[in-house]
C-alpha cells in the first residue's frame, strides 16, 4: 500500500508538472518576475521623453530671483532624487522668442514678475501638459523663492535666513530600550512590503484548493474513482492527492523564489539604479534599511515560524479541499462549495494588509489565532512587532490541532463521499460518516 501511495502521489504530481501549461505559465512567470524586479532598467532601455533633460527658461523681471529659484529648485529636486532631469536657463531674449523656443523644443518658460502686494507672481508657459511631479517641484520652488525674496526685503540677516530655511531636526526617543528609530521605520516599511511578500503564498493557497478539487472531481465524474478505490484505500488516495498538491505548490513557490533571486542577480549584473525614489522599490536600499533596523537578527525566528505556518496553512487548505471535493458530484458543485474557503483566505490576506492601519487591534490579534487565517496574519503581525513568538507558537499549535481533526474526521467523510454520486441528503450522510467509529 506504501508503494501505491508513492505511485499515486508521483502520478498526480507528474500529471501537473508534465502539463504543457505548467511549462508555459512558469516561463511567463519567471520572465515577468525578472522583468518586474528590473522594471526601471526595462523602461530605461526603451528610452523616451521621460529620460530627457527638461530645459526651463526663466525670464526674471525682478532681476534678483533667478539665482534663488535655481538654488531652491535644485534643493527640492534633490529631495525627490530627481535633480538630473531639469536645468534652468536665465533667458534674456524677448518673450516672443522664448515662446517660440517653448513651442519648438517643448521647453518650459517661467516668468517671474514683481508684485507690490504679493512680492512676486509667476507665469508658467508650456506647449502641452507638464508632468505632475515637475509642476509640484516648480510651484514649490517658486513659493520658496518668494519667501526668500520677502525675507530679504524684511532685512533679515543672511545666516538667520539660512537657519529659517533649514529643515527641523526631530529627535526620536524610546522608553523601551529594545526599540530604535530604524526599527520604527522598518515596521512602517514592512507593513507595506509584507503583504507583497505573502501575495504569492496567498495565491498558491487558492490555487491549491482549486487544483485538488478539480483533480478529485475529474476522477469521480468519470467513475474512474471506483476502479481506483477498489485497488487502493480511500485513505491512500486522499493522502496521495494532499501530498502531490502540497508538493506541487512548494515546487511552484520555489520557482517563484528562484525567479526572484535570478531577478536580483540580473539587477546586480546590469547595475540598475531605481528610477523610483520610494524605498520599498529600491531593493539595495531596502536591504540596508533591514540591516540597520536590526530586523535581520530577528529573521532567525521570523522566517522559520512563517514557513511553518505557511506549510501548515497549505496542508489545512488542501485537506479541506480534498474533503469538500469528495462530497461534491461535479466541478460546478465544487466551485460553489469552495467559495467560503476562498473567502477565508481572502480575509486572511486583507487582515494582513490592514494590520498596520489598526495597530493594537484586539480583533485582528484574535483573528491571528484562527486556523486558516493565522497562516498569513500571524507572520504579518510578528514582522510588524504587534505579537510575539509565543503568540505565533499558539497559532501553530491551534493550526496543528485543526489539521489533526481534519485528518481524523475528514477521512471518514472522504471514505463515504468519494463514492457518493448523489447530492440528496448529502450533509446527513456526511454527519453520519463523522459519527461512525
Amino acid at each position: 500500500m506504501k508503494n501505491k501511495l508513492l505511485y499515486l502521489t508521483g502520478q498526480s504530481l507528474k500529471k501537473k508538472i508534465k502539463s504543457k501549461w505548467f511549462l508555459v505559465v512558469n516561463i511567463l512567470l519567471v520572465i515577468l518576475i525578472i522583468g518586474l524586479i528590473n522594471i526601471d532598467s526595462v523602461i530605461n532601455a526603451f528610452g523616451g521623453k521621460f529620460n530627457e533633460e527638461k530645459e526651463i527658461l526663466v525670464i526674471d523681471n525682478t532681476k534678483t530671483s533667478y539665482q534663488i529659484l535655481d538654488n531652491t529648485l535644485k534643493e527640492n529636486s534633490k529631495m525627490v532624487e530627481d535633480s538630473s532631469k531639469y536645468h534652468l536657463t536665465n533667458y534674456e531674449k524677448s518673450l516672443k522668442e522664448a515662446k517660440e523656443e517653448v513651442k519648438k523644443d517643448d521647453k518650459i518658460l517661467v516668468i517671474l514678475d514683481e508684485d507690490k502686494e504679493n512680492y512676486m507672481n509667476a507665469t508658467i508657459i508650456s506647449n502641452s501638459y507638464i508632468d505632475t511631479l515637475l509642476y509640484q517641484i516648480l510651484a514649490s520652488s517658486i513659493n520658496s523663492t518668494k519667501e526668500v525674496v520677502a525675507l530679504n526685503k524684511s532685512s533679515i540677516d543672511i545666516n538667520e535666513l539660512t537657519n529659517v530655511n533649514k529643515p527641523i531636526e526631530i529627535k526620536r526617543e524610546f522608553l523601551d530600550e529594545e526599540k530604535n528609530e530604524a526599527g520604527e521605520n522598518m515596521e512602517m516599511i514592512m507593513s507595506t512590503v509584507f503583504p507583497i511578500v505573502i501575495l504569492p503564498f496567498f495565491m498558491l493557497s487558492i490555487f491549491l484548493v482549486q487544483m485538488i478539487g478539480a483533480e478529485v472531481n475529474d476522477e469521480k465524474t468519470t467513475r474512474g474513482m471506483e476502479i481506483i478505490i477498489s485497488n487502493v484505500s480511500p485513505k491512500t488516495h486522499f493522502f496521495s492527492k494532499i501530498i502531490a498538491g502540497n508538493a506541487f505548490v512548494l515546487i511552484q513557490g520555489l520557482i517563484l523564489v528562484l525567479a526572484f533571486i535570478i531577478g536580483l542577480i540580473v539587477r546586480g549584473m546590469i547595475g540598475a539604479k531605481s528610477i523610483v525614489s520610494a524605498e520599498i522599490f529600491d531593493l539595495s536600499g531596502l536591504i540596508n534599511a533591514l540591516t540597520n533596523s536590526g530586523i535581520m537578527d530577528k529573521l532567525g525566528y521570523i522566517i522559520p515560524l512563517t514557513l511553518i505556518l505557511l506549510l501548515l496553512g497549505f496542508l489545512a487548505y488542501s485537506l479541506i479541499a480534498g474533503i469538500l471535493a469528495s462530497m461534491t458530484t461535479n466541478i460546478e458543485d465544487y466551485q460553489q462549495i469552495q467559495t467560503p474557503i476562498i473567502i477565508i483566505s481572502l480575509l486572511a490576506y486583507y487582515l494582513s494588509m490592514m494590520a498596520a492601519m489598526f495597530n493594537g487591534s484586539i480583533f485582528i490579534r484574535i483573528m491571528s489565532y484562527i486556523p486558516l487565517i493565522s497562516c498569513l496574519l500571524s507572520p504579518a503581525l510578528l514582522v510588524m512587532g504587534q505579537i510575539g513568538i509565543i503568540d505565533v507558537l499558539i497559532s501553530i499549535g491551534i493550526m496543528g490541532f485543526t489539521i489533526y481533526l481534519l485528518i481524523k474526521y475528514g477521512l471518514k467523510i472522504y471514505k463515504v463521499g468519494i463514492l457518493n454520486y448523489s447530492s440528496s441528503k448529502l450533509w446527513k450522510k456526511m454527519f453520519k460518516a463523522i459519527k461512525e467509529k
Binding site: 501505491k4 468519470t222 471506483e226 476502479i227 485497488n231
Partner: protein, 299 residues
C-alpha cells in the same frame, strides 16, 4: 471460488441487499441479474471492497477480500470508468500499477490486447478522442490486463457492434477456460443465456430465483410451441392447457402450461392448413425473468 454468505447491506433505513448468498466456482460464468435498483451494483461494490459496512461474509478462495486480493480482480463498470484525459497507454499503465503489476509486464500485455482488439493505432491517443465502442474495448482491456482470477463484467457489451460482441465473447470464454471466475450482469437476457451456467435474479435486494440455468428452465414447466401456418387464434385459446397465444410476422407462439398439453395442441394443429413448422421449445430466460420478477413485484 467466490462465496457470498448471507450478505445484507443497508443504506440508512433502506435495505439494498437482503441476505444474499451464492457461490461461483473457478471457470464458471455467473449471471447476476435484476431490474434497475435491484442491488446488483451494491453487490459488485461489496465484492470489490468499495463498501465494507455490510453484514455477512464475502470470500475469494476462502480469504476475505482486501486490497491484496483486489489485485487479482478485474472490474468492468457499467458506466465509463476511464480517465478520459489520459492516453490509452497511460490509462492502462495507471490501472496496471494499481494492481501492483510491473510496467514491463503491463506494456507487453497491452500490446497483445490492443493487437487482439485491432486498436493498436490508438495506443498513444487520448481516450476522449476514441469512439464509444473503442472506449469500451479499452475499459475491457483495463479489466483483464492483470489476468484476473475474478472478473466482474457489468454490461460489457454496451456500445459494441455485433462483430465486437463476438470478439468480447471469445475473450471472455478464454478466461473461463483458464479458470477465471466470471460474474456477468446484463439487461440482455440473450447474452446471459448464451454465457452463464448459473445465475441469481435479484429484486429489491433479495434473490427471487437462483441456480443453474438448465435446472431453472427444467423447473419452469411452461413450454412454447412455435407453429408456422394458418391458425385460428380463438380456437387455440380454447384448447385445454394453452396459456397464451402470440403471432409475429411469420410464426405463432403458443404457450402451454406443461409438456402434457403438447398433445392437445398437436391434435388441433394437425387439422389446420398450410402447416410447415411445429416445434416445442424451452421458454427463453427473458420470459422466465419477466414472469419471476413480475410475480415478486405483485407480492
Amino acid at each position: 471460488m467466490l462465496k457470498i454468505e448471507h450478505v445484507t447491506k443497508y443504506y440508512g433505513d433502506f435495505k439494498a441487499v437482503d441476505d444474499l448468498s451464492f457461490e461461483v466456482q473457478d471457470g464458471e460464468i455467473f449471471g447476476l441479474l435484476g431490474v434497475n435498483g435491484a442491488g446488483k451494483t451494491t453487490t459488485f461494490r461489496m465484492i470489490m471492497k468499495l463498501l465494507d459496512d455490510y453484514e455477512g461474509k464475502i470470500t475469494l478462495d476462502g480469504k476475505e477480500i482486501d486490497y491484496n486480493i483486489t489485485n487479482k480482480i478485474g472490474f468492468l463498470t457499467e458506466e465509463r470508468s476511464l480517465l478520459t484525459k489520459l492516453t490509452v497507454k497511460e490509462q492502462i499503465l495507471f490501472y496496471g500499477h494499481l494492481k501492483d503489476m510491473k510496467e514491463e509486464d503491463i506494456l507487453k500485455k497491452l500490446d497483445y490486447w490492443l493487437d487482439r482488439f485491432d486498436i493498436s493505432q490508438y495506443k498513444n491517443k487520448k481516450i476522449k478522442e476514441l469512439s464509444k465502442g473503442n472506449q469500451q474495448k479499452i475499459q475491457f482491456i483495463s479489466a483483464i490486463i492483470n489476468n484476473p482470477k475474478l472478473l466482474i463484467l457489468d454490461e460489457p457489451f454496451s456500445g459494441l457492434d455485433p462483430l465486437n460482441v463476438e470478439l468480447f465473447k471469445k475473450v471472455i470464454l478464454e478466461f473461463k477456460e483458464k479458470g477465471s471466475i466470471i460474474i456477468f450482469s446484463s439487461h440482455r437476457m440473450d447474452h446471459v443465456e448464451m454465457f452463464c451456467e448459473k445465475l441469481v435474479i435479484l429484486l429489491k435486494g433479495k434473490s427471487v430465483l437462483e441456480g443453474y440455468i438448465k435446472d431453472i428452465k427444467k423447473q419452469y414447466r411452461k413450454k412454447n410451441i412455435v407453429v408456422k401456418g394458418d391458425l385460428d387464434k380463438d380456437k387455440i385459446l380454447k384448447i385445454d392447457g394453452v396459456v397464451n397465444y402470440e403471432k409475429n410476422a411469420n410464426e405463432s407462439i403458443i404457450k402451454i402450461e406443461d409438456e402434457s398439453k403438447i398433445e392437445n395442441v398437436f391434435a388441433y394443429i394437425s387439422k389446420c392448413k398450410n402447416i410447415t413448422k411445429f416445434v416445442v421449445e424451452e421458454p427463453s430466460l427473458n420470459e422466465i425473468f419477466i414472469e419471476k420478477v413480475g410475480e415478486a413485484y405483485e407480492k
